[in-house]
């Protein structure tokens, strides 16, 4: 069990629920980054059978050192519990001077579960813009699509190219749309990905000490809300690519996931669900 200080906060969890990812820049020390790069070059980073408890994986390797970092332990524990299952890993390679990018996609196949897997993406070397970086579409994780069905979408407002320093890590909801951007340098680009499945009910696994009595209080519609930085405000923020009408449904999707994660079946944002749940006798 990791110390409480390394668990995610409720605001970070709300960010994850709203946007489908969390980003941690330069989290991993250079020594581990160098060891992982050496492991990639020597092709000795090996995965495990799907369904293996993560605690049994990677012993004696730099990936274990990475996973043992308290910040990594904290985010894993907060999102999918203390000892999730290893699903699969992959070293993603973008070759130098590629002709095109990968098409936008969600990994695996269409997945309608409320509970979620996470994918850790770890960038062991610097990724400048011309090298591409993984492209993310924030807030796309609730969209029900099957893998590369969405490859026709080349650019969306608010998309994020993962331009970062070595040692940066993304934690993604399994449904997030993403792709490998074109690498226009003469160097190979690497990204290590690890998918994890929860084995415990994902309820208040993070440090929820910051959820005070007021955080869920109903607020007046058309007030300064929803621009606040509190949990309701974070869950109400729209992404630039949201269509006007579907963007409202995305807020409902977030409310439902927040209810699932907190066990609070009456939590609401902007009265979107409360209005529908009002059943006059």
């Amino acid at each position: 069990m990791v110390e409480k200080q390394y668990l995610l906060s409720s605001k970070q969890m709300a960010e994850f629920v709203a946007r489908g990812f969390l980003r941690f820049d330069e989290l991993v020390p250079d020594e581990i980054n160098r060891d992982v790069m050496r492991g990639i070059d020597q092709q000795n980073i090996k995965g495990h059978r799907s369904g293996t408890p993560l605690s049994e994986c990677y012993h004696g390797t730099p990936i274990r050192q990475l996973l043992d970092l308290p910040q990594i332990q904290g985010l894993i524990q907060s999102l999918v519990g203390e000892d999730p299952l290893f699903d699969h890993d992959a070293i993603h390679v973008r070759e130098p001077n590629e002709g095109k990018a990968q098409g936008l996609h969600a990994d695996s196949i269409i997945d309608c579960r409320t509970h979620f897997d996470i994918q850790l993406m770890y960038f062991p070397h610097d990724v400048p813009l011309e090298m591409g970086g993984t492209l993310l579409l924030p807030g796309s994780h609730f969209r029900r699509v099957n893998e590369s069905d969405v490859a026709a979408y080349q650019n969306m407002r608010g998309q994020i190219p993962m331009v970062c320093k070595a040692g940066s890590v993304l934690a993604l909801h399994h449904g997030i749309w993403h792709c490998g951007r074109q690498n226009q340098t003469d160097r190979r680009r690497y990204m290590y990905k690890l998918r994890l499945n929860p084995v415990v009910r994902q309820m208040r696994l993070w440090n929820d000490d910051d959820l005070d009595d007021d955080y869920r209080e109903a607020k007046a519609i058309h007030s300064a809300f929803p621009m606040g930085d509190d949990v309701q405000g974070i869950l109400a923020r729209r992404e630039p690519w949201f269509e006007a009408a579907s963007g409202r449904l995305e807020i409902v999707n977030r409310i439902k996931l927040w209810r699932f994660l907190t066990g609070d079946e009456e939590f609401d944002v902007h009265y979107w669900l409360g209005r529908l749940e009002n059943m006059p006798a």
């Binding site: 990018a101 029900r144 026709a152 407002r157």
Partner: protein, 93 residues
């Protein structure tokens, strides 16, 4: 004699079903071979609205059909709903 006309295709994903609403996503395929567009190659939309594309000479060849939500799926989100397809023809001779 083979045609020297080549098609350029632009899809604009708009904020709602109105052609003059704002662009939220876009894709471009260029049959002339002059440009090669790919995923994540631009953060700047080519036009602010679909109407702006018309004013710049693009011909609208398909607009989205409005389909009511399937019963039970009223709150489900999936693909972009308002993709407008445009073309230009260019002589490459």
């Amino acid at each position: 004699m083979a045609s020297t006309l080549r098609q350029q295709v632009l899809t604009l994903y708009l904020q709602n079903s109105a052609l003059d609403s704002n662009v939220v996503g876009w894709s471009i395929y260029d049959g002339t071979g002059k440009d090669a567009h790919t995923t994540g190659d631009s953060d700047e939309a080519p036009y602010e609205t679909g109407l702006d594309a018309l004013r710049d000479g693009w011909r609208l060849i398909q607009q989205p059909v409005l389909i009511p939500p399937y019963p039970g799926e009223e709150y489900t989100t999936s693909f972009m709903k308002y993709g407008f397809l445009f073309e230009k023809l260019e002589d490459v001779s």
